[in-house]
């Protein structure tokens, strides 16, 4: 009996705090359907009188969120593709082949990861200028793909090192070379690891702020949602419901993707502390 009361209390607290916890998102979405005048007069009532899509149309067309959205999608997907390819190939080589120099490479990379770094965004910006990529979306993608991706490499290496040797041997007997064994036989089994790395990198890049902020200082047409939002509130200071619509445009997609793929994401986070 005592146990049941305790359980009931736990659920009540978890639900009440849970609603408070995600209320900012509820507020954001409900405000995005209000008009600016009802937004001011409706007080704390979260329900809009009727659904207005005007804010979305205004944000999408007038405030150029369509462009920001497209930039965010292109930059995020390209970065995910590049990072997954790089870390998957590296993880396969490190996890399956005991090539000479392997230990040295691992040591150097891990050691370099721990050296203190200064304000690296300035050299990164200068580097893009030198490469002639400072006004191109590819420059942003390259900058976003930088880094050693140690976590992903470790995830891939650990996974590939557990693939039984017989799989590789039988592929070799069938005449498959190194690359075909990797691409046709081993890689398809790595789908869960790919999903984990992809969803994590997706969320990181989608949310990235400093890199696109600095790299698009002189090219507003390359801004991502996170950066575009800041310039939006700078320009239309009193358009609160437009702001809510813009915020919803950038947050709702990533929230939906997370809800569908959360198992992989949480496994990745949990793997990083182990």
């Amino acid at each position: 009996m005592k146990n049941r009361t305790a359980m009931f209390m736990t659920h009540t607290l978890l639900i009440v705090f849970g609603i408070i916890w995600i209320y900012p998102f509820i507020w954001m979405i409900s405000s995005s359907f209000k008009t600016n005048s009802t937004f001011l007069t409706s007080g704390i009532n979260p329900l809009p009188e009727n659904i207005h899509w005007d804010n979305y149309i205004r944000a999408w067309e007038v405030a150029n969120f369509s462009g920001y959205f497209l930039n965010s999608v292109i930059i995020t997907l390209s970065t995910v593709l590049i990072v997954i390819t790089l870390s998957c190939l590296t993880g396969y080589a490190l996890g399956r082949v005991k090539f000479p120099g392997r230990k040295v490479i691992i040591t150097i990379v891990v050691a370099l990861m721990f050296i203190p770094s200064g304000y690296t965004i300035i050299p990164l910006y200068e580097l893009m200028k030198m490469l002639g990529l400072s006004d191109s979306i590819f420059g942003v993608v390259l900058a976003e793909s930088s880094g050693a991706h140690i976590l992903f490499i470790l995830l891939f290496a650990a996974f590939f090192s557990r693939v039984p040797q017989e799989v590789e041997d039988s592929a070799a007997i069938d005449g498959a070379g190194f690359f075909r064994t990797f691409a046709k036989i081993v890689l398809p089994t790595a789908k869960p690891v790919i999903a984990t790395a992809a969803i994590m990198q997706f969320v990181w890049t989608w949310s990235s702020f400093l890199v696109p902020l600095v790299l698009t200082l002189n090219s507003p047409e390359l801004r991502t949602l996170a950066v575009g939002m800041l310039s939006f509130v700078g320009r239309y200071q009193t358009d609160w419901t437009g702001m809510a619509a813009g915020a919803s445009i950038s947050l709702v997609p990533v929230i939906l993707i997370f809800i569908v793929m959360q198992r992989y994401f949480i496994e990745g986070i949990s793997g990083s502390v182990k």
């Binding site: 790089l86 990379v109 990533v254 949480i266 502390v273 182990k274």
Partner: protein, 317 residues
């Protein structure tokens, strides 16, 4: 392995082929790593020894002048102090609340654990820069939070949360923690799930109550992973930028300006020409500070956990 002895020559050719492929596989990552990670790290030091506005060649070498100037700037020490206040507040709030949540959600008899976990994790996946702007609205003078407090009768007059230096910092810490608690909660849950079930069963047989089990069994066993969590939390919060930039812009009157924001202000949005050399020197000082703090906490991790656990490199042997 047996094949190797039987047919040494053929296999070694097979191996050499494999090695070449392995080098080809790691080459792209190595190029990206050296070009886009290592080069910027090295140059972030080099710039700090020059008086440079960011335009034109590096010509005016000034040695350690940028550093000596920084150390006498009170605005730098203000940002330095703010960074530590934020880090301390963030660490205490997020680690403790995350632990409570994890302990509650780890109960196997609790129905709907997955849904609760999703709800409390949700802020993690959202964009910090967008959250900052949304929160600036919610906590504005005419914002939702004031209206809400008025509606339930807690206050009569609106409070300007973001114009008060102390309130603004508290708000930064609370929102920053709220955003990241989900990650720390998953870390704690991972730690809790690594405790073998037999330990709890043994405690039950010995007649330990749930509070005693928590106090004498669960918490001590969480110490090693707790040290790692402390390290990760502190280091990640020392470079806070997105939230401060979008929620307070370091205001009011630099009361919430953290080091990353200070550096950004000198590098990209200065009152006058950019001072990239100066900003780079401040960046190096921040990097070294983070490094020293992580060395100290790394030592704590090592002491608490003995040599059994390593926070990194567990995947490759």
């Amino acid at each position: 392995m047996a094949k190797k002895i039987k047919n040494g020559n053929g296999i070694s050719k097979y191996n050499r082929n494999k090695y070449i492929w392995a080098y080809i596989f790691i080459l792209p990552q190595i190029i990206v790593f050296f070009g886009f990670s290592l080069y910027p790290i090295v140059m972030s030091y080099v710039y700090s020894f020059y008086d440079w506005s960011g335009i034109g060649p590096l010509t005016n070498f000034v040695g350690l002048k940028n550093y000596s100037r920084i150390l006498t700037e009170s605005s730098f020490w203000n940002a330095f102090g703010n960074t530590f206040v934020y880090t301390a507040g963030f660490t205490v709030v997020s680690i403790s609340i995350a632990l409570i949540l994890a302990l509650v959600l780890n109960n196997p008899n609790l129905k709907g654990r997955g849904i609760y976990r999703t709800v409390y994790f949700l802020p993690v996946v959202t964009t910090m820069a967008i959250i900052g702007i949304v929160m600036q609205n919610i906590f504005g003078t005419q914002g939702f939070f004031n209206e809400f407090l008025k509606a339930i009768g807690l206050i009569d007059q609106s409070i300007s949360w973001l114009s008060n230096p102390v309130l603004a910092m508290i708000l930064l810490i609370i929102i920053g923690s709220w955003k990241e608690i989900g990650i720390t909660m998953i870390y704690w849950l991972t730690g809790l799930q690594m405790i073998p079930r037999e330990v709890y069963e043994a405690a039950k047989i010995d007649g330990a109550g749930s509070w005693q089990t928590l106090r004498y069994i669960t918490l001590p066993l969480l110490k090693p992973i707790g040290a790692t969590i402390l390290l990760l939390t502190v280091v990640s919060s020392m470079r806070v930028f997105d939230l401060v930039k979008t929620l307070t812009e370091g205001g009011p009157y630099f009361a919430t300006e953290t080091l990353e924001l200070y550096i950004y202000r000198f590098a990209f949005a200065p009152d006058g020409p950019s001072q990239v050399g100066f900003a780079s020197a401040a960046g190096v000082i921040l990097g070294l500070t983070v490094f020293i703090v992580s060395l100290i906490l790394g030592w704590v991790v090592y002491k608490v956990s003995g040599q059994k656990r390593k926070p990194l490199g567990g995947g490759i042997k």
